[in-house]
């Protein structure tokens, strides 16, 4: 059965594993752990496929340690695509990634913007101020954009801030909300349902369809959160 063969087949050369995801998509896994090395390989394969597009590939969905490749099933099959991708994988070493951008996201923490700040502080036996300090203390990596347009998966949180997500997700999280879940943090670009614990909100539009670059953040960026007052939030929002 082709399914089992494909899922068993591991390429020792690149450590990549191929898995049929649907009749028009193929998953490439770089291990099953979130590591910087896996992230870099995802980015390099993504970049190579963007620089030298393959006819018949219709879409790419990067994630922590995998890349989903959607293809035109009328033009090619899984095996043919896998053979092409293996050739690309052999060339990953020659791909240079642009040096990361360092960006800041202003956040007004607590109050109506961060309804879970108090509870998160209580869970860790810290004060809300200490939680804010922790969240703003490190530079995060944009592992990938996914879920909805412009949603950046940022990691890792300082260990003292690692918190499980909400038991029951909220039906509506306002746009700009800054949340944490597990070791991750992120900003909701749109009002959506969501299960991350909300610490604050940014006035920055994370995804602007009329801007030069649609998404404020890109894969591989480095990001810091900068605490601002509700007054500064209002001023920035008016801009």
């Amino acid at each position: 059965m082709r399914y089992t063969l494909a899922s068993m087949d591991t390429s020792a050369a690149e450590g990549a594993r191929f898995q049929f995801a649907s009749d028009q998509s193929l998953l490439v896994y770089f291990g099953h752990r979130i590591t910087l090395q896996a992230h870099e390989r995802v980015r390099k394969l993504l970049r190579l496929l963007e620089l030298e597009p393959v006819t018949g590939i219709r879409n790419l969905h990067p994630a922590y340690c995998s890349l989903l490749v959607k293809f035109d099933a009328l033009r090619m099959g899984h095996d043919e695509l896998e053979a092409i991708l293996r050739k690309y994988l052999e060339r990953l070493e020659e791909v240079t990634l642009p040096s990361p951008r360092h960006l800041e996201i202003p956040v007004s923490y607590g109050g109506e913007f961060g309804p879970d700040l108090g509870e998160v502080a209580a869970m860790h036996g810290l004060t809300p101020e200490e939680i804010i300090e922790l969240h703003a203390s490190v530079e995060y990596l944009v592992y990938f954009l996914g879920f909805v347009p412009g949603y950046a998966y940022l990691g890792e949180l300082p260990e003292a801030l690692v918190t499980p997500r909400l038991g029951a997700p909220r039906r509506r999280v306002p746009a700009g909300s800054v949340g944490i879940a597990g070791t991750q943090t992120g900003v909701y670009p749109f009002a959506t349902p969501g299960g991350w614990r909300l610490l604050g909100r940014t006035p920055i539009a994370m995804f602007r369809p009329d801007g030069d670059s649609l998404s404020f953040l890109s894969i591989g960026d480095r990001v810091r959160f900068v605490p601002i007052s509700p007054g500064e939030f209002a001023a920035l929002e008016r801009k």
């Binding site: 099953h32 990938f144 998966y153």
Partner: protein
């Protein structure tokens, strides 16, 4: 300039085409018609390119006036259309004379009806497509469903056009399937044998809160572990310490059937999230994706497993048939 005046929008009517592919790296899913086959045929009936923008109506249709007239076609489900009180047929091109009004009612068959207009509907493109993406408020007309009083521009038609009707023998092939054919999902083998058997033997009902992002199902919960202990760890562990066999968020494909905590499957649909952290037990085959667009709340569906070769040949066969000249009788 020809226009469509929206006198009543219906329950949820959006501008759609065949979607925008290629923006997954930004988290943007394609969107586009929920029943692309119906939209493609509608466009062919009015002499448009298959991917021209038209209107997608949901469960209850709208009322539209054509002050300068238009060449139209309705495809998909039967929404009891009338033009100035006279019934109008599905799957055929027809003309609205200047000043006529097209009225649609509640569905008499599936979930969606398409209104295609010769020249297409002109809206500002977003990433190369007219499709509305409701969740993000992008594309289509201001990223939203139509409202009373909206005025839509009809594009310039080019090329020749002759009135056409769908071939009689095509209707049966277009009827929406309630037994959806699937291939195994990328985590299909994570589910115990008993869970998989349950999934393939049970009937599920489409839940009320189904939308263009996902089709939620009600019925037998699918246990992840043989003990039926639930799904506490699934989808929660996007952590660096997650070991092999634990779920880390990954790219998800259209028609993926994910099993979240609680065990009730969700089929990811046209406005899908681009990545997700739940295990996927199966994936609806490409040839059956249009059928998903016609599922109504409370409809009963079942899943039937097919092999990869069958999925592929069913798609090739469907495409050949959709592209054939005989499909439309002039």
């Amino acid at each position: 300039m020809r226009v469509i005046q929206v006198q009543a929008p219906g329950l949820l009517t959006t501008v759609q085409d065949l979607g925008r592919e290629g923006f997954g790296p930004m988290g943007v899913s394609p969107s586009g018609a929920a029943d692309p086959n119906a939209m493609r045929i509608g466009n062919r009936l009015v002499g448009n390119a298959e991917g021209a923008a038209g209107l997608e109506m949901t469960l209850l249709g709208g009322t539209f006036a054509f002050p300068e007239g238009a060449v139209l076609a309705l495809t998909g489900s039967d929404f009891a259309a009338t033009m100035d009180e006279k019934p109008v047929g599905l799957w055929m091109s027809f003309e609205a004379r200047a000043g006529q009004t097209l009225r649609l009612g509640p569905t008499r068959s599936g979930a969606r009806c398409y209104l295609c207009v010769r020249g297409g509907i002109e809206v500002k493109d977003f990433l190369g497509s007219a499709s509305t993406h409701l969740l993000s408020g992008l594309g289509g007309l201001e990223g939203r469903g139509l409202r009373k009083g909206d005025v839509l521009k009809i594009g310039e038609a080019n090329g020749s056009y002759r009135r056409g009707t769908l071939a009689a023998n095509a209707l049966e092939r277009l009827s929406a399937r309630k037994t959806l054919r699937v291939t195994p999902g990328p985590q299909g083998e994570w589910f115990p044998e008993a869970s998989r058997r349950l999934f393939y033997s049970c009937a599920y009902r489409v839940a009320e809160e189904t939308n263009r992002m996902g089709i939620r199902l009600r019925g037998e919960a699918i246990p992840m572990s043989s003990g039926g202990a639930g799904h506490e760890e699934i989808g929660r562990n996007a952590s660096p310490t997650a070991g092999a066999g634990e779920m880390i968020s990954e790219g998800v494909s259209l028609g993926a059937i994910q099993v979240p905590e609680g065990g009730l499957p969700i089929i990811l649909f046209v406005e899908q999230q681009t990545t997700g952290g739940y295990a996927k037990i199966a994936n609806v085959i490409s040839a059956d994706l249009s059928s998903l667009g016609q599922l109504r709340p409370r409809d009963e569906v079942r899943f039937e497993r097919v092999d990869w070769e069958t999925a592929c040949s069913l798609l090739i066969e469907q495409e050949r048939w959709l592209a054939s000249e005989e499909l439309i009788v002039k």
